[in-house]
């Protein structure tokens, strides 16, 4: 009997005695600033494991990739977030460490987005559930050398990869709603262009053609557009990172951006030449933001870009970035929308591409 009591003493867990109806998380207030505040449980089913009908966050595990660039995730363990529910009035679950707050916030941002998807014409069942891997072992040596300060969407595997922040931030990356939406935007772009979240990417892993580099930039550009337009914030990184190069309200132009052909011409001469897809992608995202400013309608701006991506995909050349720009303009109704796109195309892409459809408009 004594031994049994002693064993119970060793293994007994003193979890929260109250059932939570809310959990603490980062959110964005009406003033656009981040706050921590209690939010309703929504679809969250297990606070300790960070799991609900939208997906589950796992810790550790191994991400692998095949030659086609398809990703797979295995071996992740369940999260063990320590928390307490000590206020019988609010029944709010409060985590005992910052990582718990970050993980809950990540799920909460997905919850917010899931509720908005239908407003943007998307079927949430296409994208959810979607799991996440927290600090897994990564398949790429270059990625392993940069194991901090990042998040990613794994194409074909359809899951998120979340990495720990190296430097403490006011809003950690995985708790930044814009960064969560950026990664989700990759899932949307993948689905728009290949038709299935679990389908292979059109360009294999490590592909270094002009088309594949254009495609990766368009991936980033659409993801940035998706985040900025669904949040109505062109500088969604700012709460976590000071990145003026990614602020879509900035005066970015192709004059300062390396294009795929230029990169490929010099890549062989450099030992570790890595294509940076962001600067070119930012030009497309900034064009989407220009459209939002001209029409004063972020949802319409996203719909315009999404429709263009679908039409351009049907044309069959996913490496033809200029074709997407042309299609975008051609589909825009005459008036402020088309004027904005033509103005942006001229201002941001002058010297690299001329949109024929803008010739008679401006």
């Amino acid at each position: 009997m004594r031994a049994a009591l002693l064993l119970l003493f060793f293994v007994g867990a003193c979890g929260p005695s109250l059932e939570a109806t809310n959990y603490l998380r980062f959110g964005i207030g009406g003033d656009g600033e981040y706050y921590v505040s209690p939010e309703s449980m929504g679809t969250m089913q297990d606070l300790e494991a960070v799991s609900g009908s939208l997906g589950t966050v796992h810790q550790g595990g191994l991400v692998t990739m095949n030659a086609q660039g398809d990703t797979f995730y295995e071996g992740g363990r369940a999260m063990r977030v320590d928390f307490d529910v000590d206020d019988p009035m609010t029944l709010t679950a409060v985590p005992l460490d910052e990582q718990g707050l970050v993980l809950w916030s990540f799920y909460g941002h997905l919850e917010d987005l899931a509720g908005e998807l239908s407003d943007h014409g998307f079927d949430r069942d296409v994208f959810f559930p979607i799991d996440a891997a927290w600090t897994p072992v990564l398949p790429d040596a270059m990625l392993e050398m940069l194991p901090m300060e990042n998040a990613a969407y794994a194409t074909a595997g359809h899951f998120f990869i979340l990495l720990q922040d190296l430097i403490s931030k006011d809003v950690p990356l995985a708790a930044n709603a814009g960064i969560v939406r950026h990664e989700f935007g990759h899932a949307v772009f993948h689905w728009l262009t290949v038709g299935d979240t679990l389908a292979s990417s059109p360009f294999g892993a490590g592909a270094q053609s002009e088309s594949s580099l254009f495609y990766t930039s368009l991936h980033e550009g659409y993801a940035d557009s998706f985040a900025a337009l669904t949040l109505d914030d062109p500088d969604f990184f700012a709460a976590s990172l000071n990145m003026p190069a990614r602020d879509l309200s900035g005066d970015h132009s192709v004059a300062t951006v390396q294009l795929p052909a230029e990169f490929l011409a010099t890549a062989d001469e450099e030992l570790l030449a890595i294509w940076d897809p962001y600067p070119l992608g930012t030009l497309f995202a900034a064009t989407a933001w220009d459209l939002r400013l001209a029409t004063n309608d972020s949802a319409q701006a996203l719909a315009s870009l999404t429709t263009a991506v679908l039409t351009w995909t049907d044309q069959g050349d996913l490496g033809d970035a200029w074709g997407l720009l042309d299609t975008w303009v051609e589909q825009a109704p005459a008036g402020p929308a088309r004027d904005s796109l033509c103005s942006s195309a001229e201002r941001r892409f002058a010297g690299a591409h001329t949109v024929a459809a803008c010739g008679g408009v401006r």
Partner: protein, 177 residues
């Protein structure tokens, strides 16, 4: 890390200067200083400083009972949500040692009780969380007498709470008699 630990142990080994008339394990009390790797929700173990007090009650020539109490603290977060975390632990270990009078290798195990408190300042909005956790305390290391009156031990170990672990490395200094 292992290299540094090895150098530290090599430095400690010749330091043991117990006299022949001293028992291998003597009654002692003292303070502890070191670091603890505290488990967090994501499964990682960020480091925090740890201080504590300890005592040793001999049980025969080589074994002992060692009550200890420790406190660790860690601040984290940013302007939007700043965390003030405290970790208190009380434990009693039953240990045994082997070796020379100058330096002994020791192992101990016993029950522990942890109390965690976290205060979150959400830009003026305060939130609190507490957790009580019984668990298992386990340690291994070296007991090094310094003359007849002083004791310096280096012990690595950890404790469980719920289904997870914390790890610590403590330097214990004290008086023996």
């Amino acid at each position: 890390m292992r290299g540094w630990l090895g150098l530290l142990l090599i430095a400690l080994l010749p330091v043991g200067t117990a006299q022949a008339e001293c028992p291998p394990v003597a009654p002692a009390v003292g303070v502890a200083l070191g670091t603890v790797a505290l488990h967090v929700g994501s499964g990682e173990h960020p480091l925090a400083p740890m201080v504590g007090a300890w005592g040793r009650i001999p049980l025969g020539a080589a074994c002992y009972l060692e009550p200890e109490a420790a406190l660790a603290w860690r601040s984290e977060g940013g302007e939007v949500a700043s965390f003030d975390r405290r970790f208190y632990r009380a434990a009693v270990g039953l240990g045994c040692s082997a070796g020379t009078r100058a330096t002994r290798v020791a192992l101990s195990i016993g029950p522990s009780f942890g109390y965690r408190f976290t205060g979150i300042d959400g830009m003026g909005a305060p939130y609190k969380a507490r957790s009580f956790s019984p668990g298992l305390r386990y340690r291994a290391g070296f007991l090094v007498p310094l003359g007849q009156r002083m004791q310096l031990d280096i012990l690595a170990g950890g404790s469980t709470h719920d289904r997870v672990f914390d790890h610590d490395l403590l330097l214990q200094g004290g008086v023996r008699w």
